[in-house]
């Protein structure tokens, strides 16, 4: 059924259709509307046989999820930014224990300086945590991916993070084709756990493992993610059979076949990039896009296959590893190892800075002429950066960097809203 609704609302409804049994909620922007919606649905009886627990922290949210998932309940939670960092110990624990929890990450920047707007720093910080990480391009896909996520998680007994851009998607009103309960029931079977805390068949879960077996346990976590490389496209195909649309999968090519230059990106920015590419194509430029839907597992073969003909690759990412550069780009380099291609990293959209078509045109044209440096920060205000560096050279007590920069910009407050 077509609906005009907020992204968070679409996700809440999709989660509800998956018949969750335990939902743990702790508020953090921009994830709040999702758990608020679910709380209302549980209380109104629209989601039956479900416990909705208002916990006291994200650490508790993931811990409650661990307990309920290990007891055989389909479990969901959502978080973002600092919340994801606060639950990290439990995030690793959930994947280590092989518990198929599904969690939305409403992608948001990390502090300090505190910043509530969108980028991918939060989920990228957890790229090695053992969870499957799926990125949604729009609200339709965000809703669909949650339904697929439960199926993938439960089939592999691995947790799945569905990443959707904070505010840009969570708070955007878009048309969404909401699945029906019958469709979801036909797609998603009830959860049958691989291990469960059951007095009729007692097991010990989470005991200590020494050097004699730890490597094998860790390798199996990797092997499961390699299985996910086959399962994710399979689930996407099954989804299409029932729901009639393309959603999910590993990668999504756009005007790729003959493209000399290929842009790689994740999430909602793909829309702006596609618009820009359309305009560049109209100017006769040979350029295309590859969207990465599954960041973990990283689809090395699919990316190599899709990009082997490209002369240059521009990885545009809303995060970066301080002290080295691109995070996604590093993985792309590994996928393209041994091929004669130029690979550029463009860091853009940090802390909610708009990624405009004008900026994309400029940067992509520089890349096409191989005039871009290997690591480029899009729309970085160099004079502001240099003024602060200069100030630090001259004054020992130079003060809080973020405040200095805003004063240099002549702004009395952060450009909120």
């Amino acid at each position: 059924m077509l609906k005009q609704c907020e992204g968070s609302h679409a996700v809440a409804e999709a989660v509800a259709l998956a018949r969750p049994e335990v939902i743990c909620a702790y508020p953090i922007s921009p994830q709040t509307h999702i758990v608020e919606g679910l709380g209302e649905m549980v209380k109104a009886g629209e989601i039956q046989d479900c416990e909705y627990i208002n916990v006291e922290s994200e650490f508790a949210a993931m811990s409650v999820a661990i307990g309920s998932s290990a007891t055989g309940a389909r479990t969901y939670t959502a978080t973002a930014s600092q919340g994801l960092l606060f639950m990290v110990e439990a995030v690793y624990n959930a994947s280590g224990l092989g518990l198929p929890i599904v969690m939305t990450v409403a992608n948001r920047a990390l502090g300090a300086p505190i910043n509530i707007w969108n980028d991918h720093s939060d989920s990228m910080s957890q790229r090695d945590c053992g969870w499957i990480q799926l990125f949604a391009e729009n609200n339709q896909e965000a809703a669909d991916l949650h339904i697929q996520a439960f199926k993938i998680a439960e089939e592999l007994s691995l947790p799945v993070m569905v990443c959707m851009d904070g505010f840009i998607l969570t708070h955007a009103y878009e048309r969404v084709d909401m699945p029906t309960q019958e469709q979801v029931d036909a797609f998603l079977p009830p959860y049958v756990p691989r291990q469960v805390l059951d007095p009729r068949d007692p097991v010990s879960i989470g005991a200590m493992v020494g050097p004699e077996a730890y490597t094998e346990v860790r390798y199996l976590a990797h092997a499961k993610q390699m299985q996910a490389l086959e399962l994710i496209p399979k689930v996407s195909r099954e989804f299409k059979e029932i729901f009639g649309r393309d959603s999910g999968g590993l990668v999504r090519p756009y005007l790729l076949e003959d493209a000399d230059t290929v842009v790689i990106a994740l999430g909602s920015v793909l829309g702006t990039i596609k618009d820009t590419i359309d305009e560049m194509r109209a100017d006769g430029i040979s350029i295309g896009v590859l969207g990465i839907n599954s960041f973990r597992p990283f689809p090395v073969s699919a990316i190599r296959r899709a990009l082997s003909h490209a002369k240059r690759i521009v990885v545009l990412e809303k995060s970066f590893a301080v002290g080295i550069g691109g995070i996604v780009a590093t993985d792309v380099r590994m996928a393209m190892d041994g091929l004669d291609q130029r690979i550029y990293t463009v860091v853009a959209g940090l802390g909610g800075r708009n990624i405009t078509r004008a900026s994309l045109h400029r940067v992509l044209r520089m890349a096409m002429h191989d005039q871009l440096e290997g690591l480029h920060f899009m729309d970085l205000e160099w004079n502001i950066v240099n003024r602060e560096l200069d100030r630090e050279r001259q004054t020992r007590r130079s003060g809080p960097i973020a405040e200095n920069i805003l004063r240099d910009l002549g702004q009395t407050k952060s450009n909120v809203g």
Binding site: E56, I66, G67, T71, A73, P202, S204, G206
Partner: protein
Amino acid sequence: MGHQDIKFYQTGTFTVGNRLLPPEQRSVQADMERTNSLNSGHRACQGCGEALGARYAIDAAMRATGNRLVAVNATGCLEVFSTPYPETSWQIPWIHSLFGNAAAVATGVAAANKVKARKAGLALPETRVIAQGGDGGTTDIGFGCLSGMFERNDDVLYICYDNQAYMNTGVQRSSATPPAARTATTMPVGDEPGNEWGQGKNVPLIAMAHGIPYVATASVSDLRDLEYKVTKAMNMRGARYIHIFVPCPLGWGSASQDTIKLARLAKETGLFPVFEAEYGEVTNVSKIRQKQPVEAYLRLQRRFAHLFGKKPRLDVVARFQEMADQNIRKFGLLGSDRAAVGFPGSEHK
């Protein structure tokens, strides 16, 4: 059973042979049907108070729940000595997740069981859950999750086995470590040797402040009382907390055969008040049978040896005595005294 009804005929001892009791009053551990939930063969030290306390607590909970029990364990000695894979001493479904989240994991187990029960058409879940941890996992790192579980009144019994320091990592100070005690992070050097003198963190009282249905303290020196309290707790619903005093020969520098003796002295001096509280009010206090000076308790432990060395610190011993006497007044631990007015809830008793 009314635990106060038992008469102890054997003078000079608190133990009473089960043969002297009617069958219904005999301990769970004396029963051939006991479940040995924490089975023998584990790696606890000689004289470990925690192993003893856990064995009695979990078997009593098993009997009370008709053997439908799940245990969630915080990281710590109990977790490590009972379960390096592929061995496990646990005969019940058992999960260890992290150091600081046992209460929250147990909340998740309880929530899942509630949903399963509802789907099966049952009013209440048959399978119950216990969370357990040491004092570090309870009073320090797990405190946030514990308070959250209390505040929501989740159907969890949390048991803290209090041996007054981080023993698993090599005897470091916790917020349950008594003042002046030597630990690896509060060494007996300088002018004020050992742990700083402070309030510590009294989690039983903090639990009571949450107004939860049941809070109790217990000791491995009175195992029948411990069984009674666990049984009572498991016959209630909602958030419940039992804080069990478990001496640690390794961490305290005490003889392994003195574990029960030390636990008894902690109670008989007044240093560890043994009581029950319901909905924030003290309902029962285990009286001191024969009051002992704190010195009798302190002298048996090398962690307090610096108080009795070349320069005895009788002033510090006197402060301990005042602490014990204050507990005696506050909880009404002697004779027929009632708890002093002003103690939370006691004025209504």
